[in-house]
Symmetry: C2
């Protein structure tokens, strides 16, 4: 039972953890409020409904993720960076580092579950609110891979995003060994992802 922070913050924290663990439908408001140490009715009082709570969990993390991705990409391009690996780093690292702060180690898992569950509503939500960031990265990839046709580039980006999503959500088989710190393991994952994705994007050129 978490007893730190305001009622709203406790609910959001418990929701993120429980959604990642049990899914949106699998996590009941009774489990959620119990683990947050708040009354059952608090969710509907503060958020209106369970669905609004889900949206809020997403908005909070995705705003932060996209802001960091944009900042990282800006830093790369401003310095006239021409390395594909640097752009990939700007794309991957912020997502992996969501696993660091307060209680966010599970958000990428929530995201994957969400894409698997909500048939279209969430996809539209993500694409409408954060599509412009993806478009910025796509433009950068196009600049650094001028030999690829537009169609070919989109195929490869699509495949790359799939690889990253899967790895970042922790559904892969590569588990952290006990003699490797969480930070070191994350850095390893990032480097492996960048090398694999860079090679895949460059394939045959």
């Amino acid at each position: 039972m978490n007893r730190t922070g305001s009622t709203k913050e406790r609910i959001l924290g418990a929701a993120e953890a429980l959604f990642a663990q049990r899914g949106f439908d699998g996590a009941s408001l009774r489990q959620l409020t119990s683990s947050a140490g708040v009354n059952l009715a608090a969710v509907n009082y503060h958020f209106g409904s369970k669905e609004k709570l889900v949206e809020e969990v997403f908005r909070r993390r995705l705003d932060a993720l996209n802001a960091q991705r944009q900042a990282a990409l800006a830093k790369v391009t401003e310095l006239g960076g021409n390395r594909l690996e640097d752009v990939l780093d700007a794309f991957i690292r912020p997502a992996m580092e969501l696993s660091d702060d307060d209680g966010g180690p599970l958000f990428m898992r929530v995201l994957v579950r969400a894409f698997a569950e909500h048939d279209d509503t969430l996809r539209r939500f993500v694409s409408e609110n954060y599509g412009h960031v993806m478009r910025q990265f796509s433009a950068e990839f196009a600049r650094l891979l001028p030999d690829l046709s537009k169609e070919e580039l989109y195929w490869r980006i699509d495949i790359m995003v799939g690889a990253l999503t899967h790895a970042m959500s922790g559904f892969g088989m590569m588990k952290r060994k006990n003699d490797v710190s969480a930070r070191a393991h994350r850095e390893q994952t990032i480097q492996h992802l960048i090398r694999f994705a860079a090679a895949g994007l460059r394939a045959g050129s």
Copy 2:
């Protein structure tokens, strides 16, 4: 309301479609039996419980998938094939072609949802019953990529499986255009996946 085949077969067919669309918890037995055109109690009569039905849906498809993967791999290695692309084809094509037969276009989607939902039970089920096939492919990859350390190889296979899983489950953005047949689109997807994965596996060698 489907009215062909036995009650058991109708339930299995409707279950696969509905599980892919709404998830395991999201699909109720009332929706399921209604869409199958059978009585509500038929599920518990023929399968014992909803969970047993889920297992049966998996067993049916995974048995077929792994048999086809093994056969395809055997055909490649018997001919003394040394092309990484051929091994990848043997791994990818059977999974993509699950989308072809009777009502299986959705099974890969079910699989992804399952990995996102069932925290560990299903992962263990898959790994225990079908891990040996994965190990055969891993051995073949190791043979064709002798410069990679064991650790490095496992990282890359893990990332590759993520890319394939994501693409094959149809969660990617690349949608089939209207002027492309389903068969041609699937072949395109296979070729793009093979090229990307081969390059990623070979990276830096």
